[in-house]
């Protein structure tokens, strides 16, 4: 049983990573065909950096992701603080709202926003309303639930007396938030923001319905590319993105591992310190 699941696990990881390996090998291939490896070359990377299209698209994606994740983090964190104070019925309704974009198929969210923008465009008599702003609104909308669901547990875990203690010691409610509560929920805020950022950076389905010709993100353009044969410089871009995301994830892992190790240490110290009192 144990052996069988180990074999399955190894096979699943192979299954997950083989296609990515194919793309990475393709990025060093002098032939544009993924299937035939002709010879090793760095030309694709050179072509990528000489290319005036892909990098600006990547920049577009980054701009949208950064702004959308920051905005949704601020909006979402504030909302979570409010939800924490709500009565049962109001909280239920708010969490119901929060769950809509999480449960709905992405294509439905995309379609509904596309229709909203079309409707708004008619109302405001703007011909091409689709573009940067519609993309940003859509991204903030689907990011918000992730932020809320990641901050909320931290807030409920927090000892409610901490806020009271801060106010007891002279803090105004605003001071109490920045000096105490923020420190407690910061890990939730950071992981929510990072999650929002990666969701945003890689989003295709929803963006596809709300982008306009003046502002296109990388995943949407890749979709448009894949309708015809791909230039291997896209594989080069993929490889670089893969490495960047791998690096970020490793860094987060190391930070988290160090954090838990520190907590374990201090708990041990606490146990050692007990008999002295």
């Amino acid at each position: 049983m144990k052996k069988a699941s180990k074999v399955v696990t190894v096979l699943v990881f192979v299954f997950l990573y083989v296609p990515m390996l194919v793309l990475m090998i393709g990025s060093f291939n002098s032939s544009s065909d993924l299937v035939v490896f002709k010879s090793f070359t760095m030309d694709n990377y050179r072509a990528l950096f000489a290319d005036g299209v892909l990098l600006p698209l990547l920049l577009n994606s980054l701009i949208i992701s950064v702004i959308a994740s920051l905005a949704s983090t601020v909006l979402g964190t504030a909302a979570t603080l409010g939800i924490h104070r709500m009565g049962k019925r109001m909280r239920r309704f708010t969490m119901f709202l929060t769950n809509i974009p999480m449960t709905n198929p992405e294509i439905v969210t995309g379609v509904s926003l596309a229709l909203l923008f079309a409707f708004a465009g008619q109302l405001m008599k703007i011909k091409s309303i689709l573009g940067f702003w519609t993309l940003l609104i859509a991204h903030i909308t689907f990011n918000l639930p992730y932020v809320i669901l990641s901050v909320q547990p931290k807030l409920t875990q927090m000892d409610p007396n901490l806020t009271k203690a801060a106010m007891d010691l002279g803090c105004t409610p605003v001071q109490a938030f920045f000096k105490v509560v923020l420190h407690e929920i910061l890990p939730g805020i950071i992981s929510g923001a990072l999650m929002a950022f990666t969701m945003s950076l890689d989003d295709f389905v929803i963006s596809y319905f709300v982008y306009g010709p003046n502002f296109v993100t990388l995943p949407v353009e890749i979709y448009n590319y894949t309708k015809k044969p791909l230039h291997p410089k896209i594989y080069a871009l993929f490889t670089l993105l893969f490495l960047a995301i791998l690096a970020v994830m490793l860094l987060m892992n190391i930070l988290q591992a160090r954090d838990t190790a520190r907590q374990r240490n201090s708990r041990q110290k606490a146990r050692a310190g007990q008999p002295t009192v």
């Binding site: 203690a165 007891d168 002279g170 803090c171 000096k179 420190h183 907590q263 201090s266 310190g273």
Partner: protein, 380 residues
């Protein structure tokens, strides 16, 4: 005692229509150690939170030095609080935790350092400045929480079940320690607990509460020796409570016999509650006592035995250092000063009968109580 510092006048409090405090009137003197004592849900924590400013009463006024402070937010009140489970800031070390309030008040760092050091000495935690709070034991965290509150030189320190999370040994040490700190600082302590022994040990004044109402206010001795009703008699220590009739001043009748006592001022033939503390009963040979009964159970308690004695179907708890076997027939004597008479109240008949007594019974009851109080905290 010295002058009055805090007064609660006709305070009532309701959450969503549910009354948790009903017309509370109470004054607290300067430099007093006052304890709010009662079972969970009696309103003691709410009373404390009203004084701290975390809860606004639905009716009545809170006066501080004669000034109404109902609308003053917590951060502007001259009181500080030691919270349940301490509420130390996990992101700050011991020094920064204690310095927190002083930094909010924008004191100079020299002054802060001086006062923090002084406070660490008072609570006996010098040398722990750089420690993270989660590396401290419960007792140490407790001391830091006290230091963090006291360093702001409040006129009143509020303590919300501060010893609840400590084990028995540590709790006893901290009781003595808290009393010492209170006397050293010379300020008012308002202490909330459901532990009667804790209240008796530390307090100058005890306020016994139940169901949102004050049942009795008095010194520990008053409360123990002269309980006002069956609830107080039962909650503070163990009591046998019987139905009696006051035949005249200093003469009470129960079990069909008349006993001389020391209470007076009741109407002739008024129905009353009679309290007899288990440790006040003298055991004598069966033929030499006022009453004669059969031992039905014996529990060894270390210092004494708890024995249950059946008198004509009514069971008493008696504490004695002399072993009596089950089935023994014994007599008891009651001296006039061992009999305490109380007016009838809504609590009459609810307490003080040991017919269903078992040694484990109390502990089970306590555990249920502790569980409830946890839940109540979450709800607030």
């Amino acid at each position: 005692m010295s002058k009055e510092l805090i007064r609660l006048a006709d305070i009532s409090m309701a959450y969503d229509g549910e009354v948790v405090l009903n017309n509370i009137n109470l004054y607290i003197n300067d430099s007093e150690f006052l304890t709010l004592l009662g079972p969970s849900g009696c309103g003691k924590t709410t009373t404390l939170q009203i004084i701290g400013g975390f809860v606004k009463p639905t009716a009545g006024s809170v006066l501080f030095d004669g000034v109404r402070i109902n609308d003053i937010p917590p951060h502007k009140r001259q009181v500080n609080t030691v919270f349940q489970r301490y509420a130390l800031f996990p992101h700050l070390d011991v020094y920064d935790n204690i310095a927190f309030g002083l930094r909010i008040a924008k004191l100079g760092e020299d002054e802060i350092a001086r006062r923090v050091t002084e406070m660490l000495e008072v609570v006996g935690m010098k040398g722990f400045e750089e420690r993270k709070t989660d590396s401290l034991s419960g007792g140490q965290q407790q001391r830091i929480a006290i230091a963090r509150a006291l360093v702001n030189r409040p006129k009143v320190l509020l303590l919300d079940e501060p010893l609840g999370a400590l084990d028995l040994r540590l709790r006893k040490d901290m009781q003595v320690e808290l009393k010492r700190i209170q006397q050293q600082m010379g300020i008012t302590f308002i202490f909330v607990t459901h532990d009667q022994e804790e209240a008796l040990t530390m307090s100058d004044t005890i306020v016994v509460m139940d169901k949102g109402e004050i049942q009795q206010i008095g010194t520990p001795e008053d409360i123990y020796n002269e309980p006002k009703n069956a609830f107080v008699a039962d909650f503070i220590g163990e009591s046998n409570i019987l139905d009696g009739i006051m035949r005249a001043d200093r003469l009470v009748e129960f079990f069909g016999r008349r006993f001389p006592c020391v209470d007076e001022g009741f109407a002739k033939d008024e129905a009353v509650d009679v309290v007899i503390r288990p440790e006040d009963v003298d055991i004598v040979p069966a033929d030499g006592g006022h009453l004669c009964g059969t031992v039905t159970s014996v529990t060894f308690k270390g210092v004494h035995y708890d024995i249950i004695v059946d008198f004509h179907g009514f069971k008493w708890l008696i504490q004695t250092t002399d072993y009596q076997p089950v089935g023994a027939v014994i007599g008891i004597r009651l001296n006039p000063e061992d009999i305490h008479i109380m007016k009838r109240s809504k609590y009459s008949g609810m307490f003080g009968d040991y017919s269903s007594y078992s040694a484990e019974y109390d502990e089970i009851g306590d555990a249920a109580l502790a569980g409830e109080s946890e839940e109540q905290e979450e709800g607030e």
